[in-house]
Amino acid sequence: MAVDVGRAGSSIRGARGRVSGFLWRRPRLRAIGLLIPPLGWIGLVYLAALVALLLSGFHTVDSFTGKIQGNWTLDNFRQIFSLDDTTYLRIAWQTIWIAAAVTVTDAILAFPIAFYMARVASSRVRALLFVLVLLPLWSSYIVRVYAWRVILKEDGILNWTLGKLGLPPADIGFTNTAMWLVFSYVWLPFMILPVYAALERVPESYIEASRDLGARGFRTFRTVILPLALPGLVAGSIFTFSLTLGDYLTPVLIGGPGSQFIGNVIFANVGVANNVPFAAAYAMVPIVVVGVYLIIAKRLGAFDAL
């Protein structure tokens, strides 16, 4: 079947032909050959170090010498989940709570535009909206966060606009409210796109059938469209929730003194406090939370919607 150039042709071509024919007949062998470089890279550069890092969460640092000690212990986790000093529990709770608020906000904001794109807009308008949603997603994250710092500052455009409208200034710069707003802003496209994809797949005939059976607009929405869009909403929420949960920059640039996130505590422990084991232990909190979330999301069919 493949090639039979061994008899004729140059010896180079013959050798090449034999090699390619050999591999063509053995797809698994070829796949393994192709897999070695990328998997070797991921395993060596990333996974090994990641596992070592997370395991170091079960060690402690000698507070005197700053060296990591060899014994295995749950001390870091005791400190995180301590009920006497709830600092770390509070910060974890604040992070999870804001991530959840951002997710709900984005779901509410994303639904109308996703619905409009999927089921109302002409293909031209849809293409335009697609670009308008996609470009902010890919433009610089730090710049988008910075833009809000400029907008929300005391003499910024928000208070100027409120003043023109005769309203009192809203001094929300450097608060948790500001963080909620900015997170909702930066991750919104991640919610719009999967919801759009889910809504686009709802067959028109389902909606017609619902109407024929006497359901009014809202009933059709609640009992037909919303359940079918749910996998898309859950898929989007994976992004909005886990990206907020792991963030470090926005609390630094937008948050105030009480706006610490899990990421900020990790950062401080790697840098100033030089306590990598504690940082590693605390890093497991978002990893476990997201892990649990992903399992629930899979149950709800989110991965088929991605």
Partner: protein, 264 residues
Amino acid sequence: MARGTRIGLLVGTGIVVLFLWIPLVIIGVYAFNESNIQSWPISGFSTKWFGEAWDNPEVRDGFWLSVKAALGATGIAIVLGGLLSFALYRFDFFGRNVISFLVVLPIALPGIVTGMALNRFFSAVSLDLSLWTIMIGHATFCMVLVFNNVIARLRRTSPSLIEASMDLGADGWQTFRYVTWPSVATAIVAGALLAFALSFDEVIVTYFTAGANNTLPLVIFGYIREGLRLPAVNAIALVVIALTIIPVTISQRLTRDTGVLSRE
């Protein structure tokens, strides 16, 4: 659909589009602010901050470092992501899901965790933090973008094309060169452009892999945090937005059917 619903949807859509774009437009306006005080409305029109930003060696060095790191990371990501997609597209086995999961991990875990892990690897093999470590780190999380784009294209390409080529006597290389390559080239370019945009923007993983070197986003981050040279930051911000929008737009055009986020 009821008229009220239609109007409601239109209003909701309009609000979201404004919400997404107003901050970007405002940064664009501030970039041309004459005054060095960041209040609204701006006091006058000037392009001087672009020149000032470019004359600042920190900014310029950061810019070139970012470009070099992004180019290197994209190059590595093309090779690794490409190999991975060619290895996996014809198989549907349990391992495929595991491997797809492993490649997403560096981008799915919080940046700070990925940064710490990479940092740990570099210190374990005693590699000093430099341009090279930034490239290696960025390539690790950019690989998945090339992989996703190329595998989506490969799965849409009919395998009978390759069989036909082999039956007609082409060897593996010729088949790759004349059949496979033309069908995946634009997907590779599209994935590469996204990888470039992602690498060029990245902050937190870079922080852990750059050592004393500052890429452009790290320079911007430092200025914003310290409240330094903010007028120049506005100008840089506008340029950075433009620089990431261009590759993404091209990438989108190249993969209208199989783009990483497109569903068309």
